[in-house]
């Protein structure tokens, strides 16, 4: 040992006891402590924002899952029906019958309020029409007690959720102060109540003046068909392209160029893909406007670079010695890739794909450009094929449409829509984690 830099006893390094750390060691320990503190602060900040985000989403969005219904038991006899049908204003006749029934029910409980048909129409919409349709569809229910759960108008709903107050409101054709007396009376009688808002989950978008009837179901279906297109196209194309580029393609100028372009594509703003889709798929190829098929194609373009980049990264991460091992026993390149490399890269590919799909699921801008705006989602497609070609919207576009509407009742719907969207994203992530585990267990 002639090494001059060997610590000599004079420097004190060896004379210090192990239990008393020297200055350098102390300094290093302090630096490490500081770094840990930074890390904890960073995580705490992140968690704080997450909590704020979730509480605001939940507090704003939960009310969208509740609706106010007026539940009245009602008996209509054959005779009543015939009388009503013989009148000139048939629905008015039915609604008179309803008012009478409501009145008796309130009277029975000793609650005396004025009920007029206009007030009922403001509170519950066109009740007569609803009842008439019900009995013409279910004539066998005539003469039997039937319980009608009628959705209250969004103003009444707002009165319940605190959006509308007696003090702040002004009489309008939507709601008058006197109507609220009736509402209060019905509440006392237990006729009006809050119920889970199934129509919000299963329904389609409604008109601008009917926020109460708006549901996200149709656009969930639109998103679903779009995701089918994205998955069916981007996964095979993306994985095949990555495998070719990573394992087979020669390294030359041309493949370098492709590589640079793929990385650039990943950074292109989504709205650019939207206008590209509009120009190519709709104006040039004349595919149906607002169709999930077109939306899926546009989102495929957007998702491909993500999938290619993550697939290539996970292929690169497979140790080259595995390829050598396979080639060494006489496997062809393709066998080496498909028998040995791909299974090892599968968890990474899966994660990349699901991240890409999640991005696509939350994308709004390109959909607006190809006409998949919220109000298009007025009903469910009739059948599987129609699901791709019939005009529909998608969840984020629907949310955007609601958020931009004037009626504040839609604002609540937008938040509720976001909760549904987040639930889908969460489910996808959980699936990704489960699949990863499943694959990784095969070491």
């Amino acid at each position: 040992m002639t090494d001059a830099s060997m610590p000599t006893p004079e420097t004190g390094r060896h004379s210090v006891s192990l239990t008393a750390p020297d200055a350098r060691t102390r300094k290093r320990a302090q630096a490490e402590k500081r770094f840990r503190a930074y890390g904890i602060i960073a995580i705490a900040t992140g968690l704080f924002f997450l909590v704020v985000l979730f509480t605001s989403i939940l507090s704003e969005g939960i009310p969208a899952f509740k609706r106010t219904v007026v539940s009245v038991e009602f008996i209509l006899t054959q005779q009543d029906r015939e009388e009503a049908e013989s009148e000139l204003f048939k629905t008015k006749a039915y609604s008179n019958l309803f008012v009478t029934a409501l009145k008796t029910e309130l009277d029975e409980r000793g609650l005396n309020v004025d009920i007029n048909e206009d007030a009922i129409e403001r509170l519950l919409g066109k009740v007569g029409g609803t009842i008439r349709t019900f009995y013409s569809e279910n004539p066998d229910k005539l003469g039997q007690p039937v319980r009608f759960d009628l959705a209250a108008s969004s103003r009444v709903d707002g009165y319940y959720k605190g959006r509308v107050t007696r003090e702040a409101m002004q009489d309008s054709r939507f709601l008058q102060k006197s109507d609220l007396d009736l509402v209060d009376a019905m509440e006392k009688a237990g006729i009006i109540k809050q119920a889970f808002n199934w129509p919000f989950i299963t329904g389609a978008d409604s008109g601008v003046d009917n926020p109460g009837g708006a549901g996200i179901g149709a656009s969930v279906v639109g998103s679903f068909f779009m995701m089918l297109v994205v998955l069916a196209l981007s996964l095979p194309i993306g994985v095949a392209a990555s495998i070719y580029l990573e394992e087979f393609a020669p390294q030359n100028r041309f493949t370098d160029l492709i590589e640079v372009n793929i990385s650039n594509l990943a950074a292109v703003p989504s709205i650019v893909f939207g206008i590209l889709g509009l120009a190519v798929f709709i104006q040039f190829m004349h595919l149906p406007q607002s169709a999930p098929l077109v939306g899926g194609l546009v989102l495929t373009l957007m998702t491909l670079p993500t999938i290619i980049i993550s697939t290539r990264a996970s292929l690169k991460a497979v140790p080259p010695s595995i390829r050598d091992a396979a080639l060494g026993v006489g496997a062809s390149k393709m066998q080496a890739v498909f028998h040995h490399v791909l299974p090892l890269a599968a968890p990474g590919i899966l994660t990349g794909t699901i991240i890409g799909l999640a991005q696509a699921l939350g994308e709004t801008a390109p959909l607006l450009l190809i006409g998949m705006v919220g109000f298009v989602a007025r009903g469910y497609p009739d059948g599987f094929v129609a699901g791709f070609t019939e005009a529909n919207s998608a969840m984020p576009a629907q949310i955007y449409t609601w958020a931009s509407r004037a009626d504040v009742a839609f604002y609540e719907k937008a938040w509720g829509g976001i909760i549904i969207l987040l639930m889908f994203l969460l489910t996808m992530n959980i699936i990704a984690i489960i699949l990863r585990r499943r694959f990784e267990r095969r070491w």
Binding site: D324, A325, V329, W443
Partner: protein, 265 residues
């Protein structure tokens, strides 16, 4: 160097299996192999010795075209297996590698079960007619790799879960399972204990009866024990190639002598 006296030297009689002429390998700008001429004989063990980084692995990888997988590697020269140029355009390296098997310097078992590791080669080459046949091949290969007793109860366990030395023997078993005519072994015993080393050397001796074996080793004793021919590489050139006995007892080149006596390397 007393070991070598034990080996009976029967050379001269064998025909040439692999004939290498004017071999050059470049890694980009690096000239890794310079003008190497070697004849690998049939039914013979040839040892490659030389200091670290002198190009033993590189040259070995030329013999089954594994350098094809390295983009920057360029191989020149003529390599003839049984008189056929292995770098001919018509040669499919896949077929070549079935004939010329390889054990790599770093153990690289597949992340699959021990059984599948060994069975993979026979499967893709269709060497087994049925499951029982395959089982036989696997058992025989693992026995030859001197690892059967250790793994016979856990053939379903992952090959990557074995110890380093066990992995290396598994790789040897995997390489012999395809019955190659030439077996290239890159430091097969560097991670093995003396007992396993002795077993592998026994295997090499046994393989020599039918095949030719090329072994890279840093152990002079091992080269002397198992090989009939020895090639000494230095800085990418073949310094001396000849019968093992002659190389170790009476080297021509002074560099060979310094290396085997431990003065360079």
């Amino acid at each position: 160097m007393n070991d070598m006296t034990r080996v009976e030297r029967q050379v001269d009689t064998n025909k040439i299996k692999l004939e290498c002429r004017d071999c050059q390998v470049h890694y980009g700008e690096t000239h890794a192999i310079k003008d190497v001429n070697v004849d690998i004989e049939d039914k013979t063990v040839t040892a490659f010795i030389g200091p670290s980084g002198c190009g033993k692995s590189t040259f070995l990888r030329c013999l089954n075209r594994m350098n094809d997988t390295i983009d920057i590697a360029r191989v020149k020269g003529s390599f003839k297996l049984d008189g056929e140029d292995i770098y001919d355009k018509r040669v499919d390296p896949v077929q070549l590698r079935a004939k010329v098997g390889m054990v790599f310097q770093k153990p690289n078992p597949f992340p699959k079960s021990i059984y599948d590791n060994v069975a993979y080669g026979p499967r893709i080459h269709g060497l087994a007619k049925n499951k029982a046949d395959l089982d036989d091949i696997v058992e025989k290969s693992l026995r030859r790799g001197a690892i059967w007793d250790e793994v016979k109860d856990r053939l379903d366990a992952p090959g990557t879960g074995l110890s380093g030395g066990q992995q290396q023997r598994l790789c040897i078993a995997r390489a012999v399972a395809t019955e190659p005519e030439v077996l290239l072994m890159d430091e097969p015993c560097s991670a093995l204990d003396p007992i396993a080393t002795a077993q592998v050397e026994e295997l090499i001796d046994e393989l020599r009866e039918q095949y030719s074996v090329v072994i890279v080793t840093h152990s002079m004793q091992q080269a002397a024990r198992v090989s009939q021919k020895t090639a000494f590489f230095h800085l990418g050139s073949l310094v001396e190639f000849g019968e093992t006995g002659q190389i170790f007892t009476n080297p021509v080149d002074p560099r060979t002598e310094s290396y085997i006596t431990g003065r360079i390397g």
